[in-house]
Symmetry: C2
Subunit: 317 residues, 2 copies
């Protein structure tokens, strides 16, 4: 019989899961082309404005297939409701039977995105991280910080946000995780002070520009842009990078940072690596701490598959 | 809080619903272009062989949107399980909140398809139905009969099936609905004896051919073919028809009977009508009982929307 797993139950089992290797295995399966993941299905609404995305797929020889439904209803905050919502359905890939409904309200998407940032940092950050830079102050900034703390020893953090209140609130959150926090007043501040930077905003205009970067090497993970229009880095920043890595090369042709640089004709000859190829050792990653690397995360259904399976298995135990 | 509605609960409320006008309203909304229904999303499996279809959409100004998941796992019968399975999710179209999960195991798809056959017969059958012909002996043959009995007075039935056992079993079912049943030995038998014919098979080779038809007019509803490959009528049968009606003109370009005739170049100049245009009175339908009409049903998500809403509303009352 199919199981209903509530957000509370999900939050209870998450701390018991070692999510970094779980998501790494997902990226490896994806980059080794062991996944079946058709293009995202989409439903849009005008009044109130909203969109619904359906991501679905499976890893070959796996016991499950997953359908994830994620919605953004942008007038919800006016009604006192979160704009994001969602659930994941887990089916038996031998019989088609529904095994579980994970009523995660979008939380597992936030978590798997945070974990992907930690995976990127694990494989791409300089050996010695001097200071972490965080652009954006929302839920995803917190997620990134929580999972970065599992793979990076550095506890110095600089944050850049648009409002004082949001910056103060993130500062408190970071301090509770033992970070020593400073506040940046510009993207250049962050680039000068930090050699591991994560951007987590829904910005549609670039916030960071490496054109005049004169530092000693860094890694940037761009998490915010997951659509054709959002953009956090100038396209010429990608041209300056020694290494450009994508979660999904095919998806980055049409969404995220890389697609802007491809459209501008700047990196047409530079075929980006995939994160899975770093996770499985096929690609060596950065050569030294002085290199510049950029990882563009647009979100891949295999992350949903991996986290849904892990939560399900931990819950039915 | 979101509600789980089981198959038993669904079966309990179905008899209380007046499904024919509910599905008619769906076809009308569809043909009046008041629906948002993107193309079907599809996931396929090789081992065991299976496919999963995700149909989703909403009627504009409606309170709900629907996502339907329907799977066919073709090795399931070897394991003692039905090959079809499925569920419907009903969401609030103002907030995105999940309102209900209908664990219908594919039953509501069977029912809404049966009801669509009755809607087609209501608007297209000759005034005086002399005998009903049913091709195919499975679940859908029963569904068609059950809902036809609501709109057609005639209780004479001829059935055509491939195996004696299946024919006998359907005969008993029909007799329990007060039908006087005879058995046909060919498609021509059916065409000679009946002036309302419904085909319900997954055949990929035509079973009925109107080329040499010399009867006094009839209506055929072709229910079985819902893919590019399935076919129950010869393409030249559509050429002989005075009226060709589709549930969805756009979908019938690529699936069902009409698409075979279009591909053969036979009805390129004959633009098919839509069932919704008969339901709302825009099209007058047949002129007299002597005409030949064909209705091609490929299954439209608006039927799922309508039946899911109706079941939900009846259940929460």
């Amino acid at each position: 019989l199919s199981k209903i797993i509530t957000l509370d139950e999900i939050k209870q089992v998450l701390p018991s899961l070692d999510l970094i290797p779980i998501i790494e295995q997902g990226f490896i399966a994806y980059s080794e082309q062991r996944c079946v993941m058709p293009p995202v299905a989409e439903l849009t609404f005008e009044d109130p404005p909203a969109d619904v995305h359906i991501k679905y797929g499976y890893i070959k020889d796996d016991d499950f297939y997953i359908i994830k439904i994620a919605s953004g209803f942008y007038d919800n905050p006016k009604k006192g409701l979160p704009s994001s919502n969602g659930l994941m359905l887990l089916f038996n890939s031998q019989t088609g039977a529904l095994m579980a409904t994970l009523l995660d309200e979008g939380h597992l998407t936030d978590v798997r995105t945070g974990v992907a940032g930690a995976v990127a940092a694990k494989h791409l950050a300089p050996k010695v991280v001097e200071r972490i830079g965080l652009v954006g102050t929302g839920t995803q900034a917190r997620m990134q910080l929580q999972y970065l703390a599992e793979v990076i020893d550095c506890r110095k953090l600089q944050i850049l946000g648009r409002t004082r209140g949001a910056v103060d609130s993130l500062r408190e959150y970071a301090q509770a995780l033992d970070f020593e926090v400073t506040v940046a007043s510009s993207g250049n501040d962050i680039l000068n002070a930090c050699n591991l930077v994560v951007t987590t905003t829904p910005s549609t205009a670039p916030l960071l520009d490496l054109e005049y970067y004169t530092g000693n090497g860094l890694h940037i993970t761009a998490v915010g842009s997951d659509t054709p229009h959002k953009q956090e880095l100038t396209t010429r920043s990608l041209l300056r990078a020694d290494l450009v890595v994508a979660d999904s090369c095919s998806q980055c042709q049409s969404r995220g940072e890389i697609h802007h640089a491809l459209e501008a004709g700047l990196i047409s000859s530079k075929i980006p690596l995939e994160l899975g190829h770093l996770c499985n050792g096929d690609s060596p990653g950065r050569k030294n701490d002085q290199q510049i690397s950029i990882c563009d995360l647009t979100g891949v259904a295999v992350q949903d598959i991996q986290i849904a399976k892990a939560v399900y298995e931990a819950t039915v135990k």
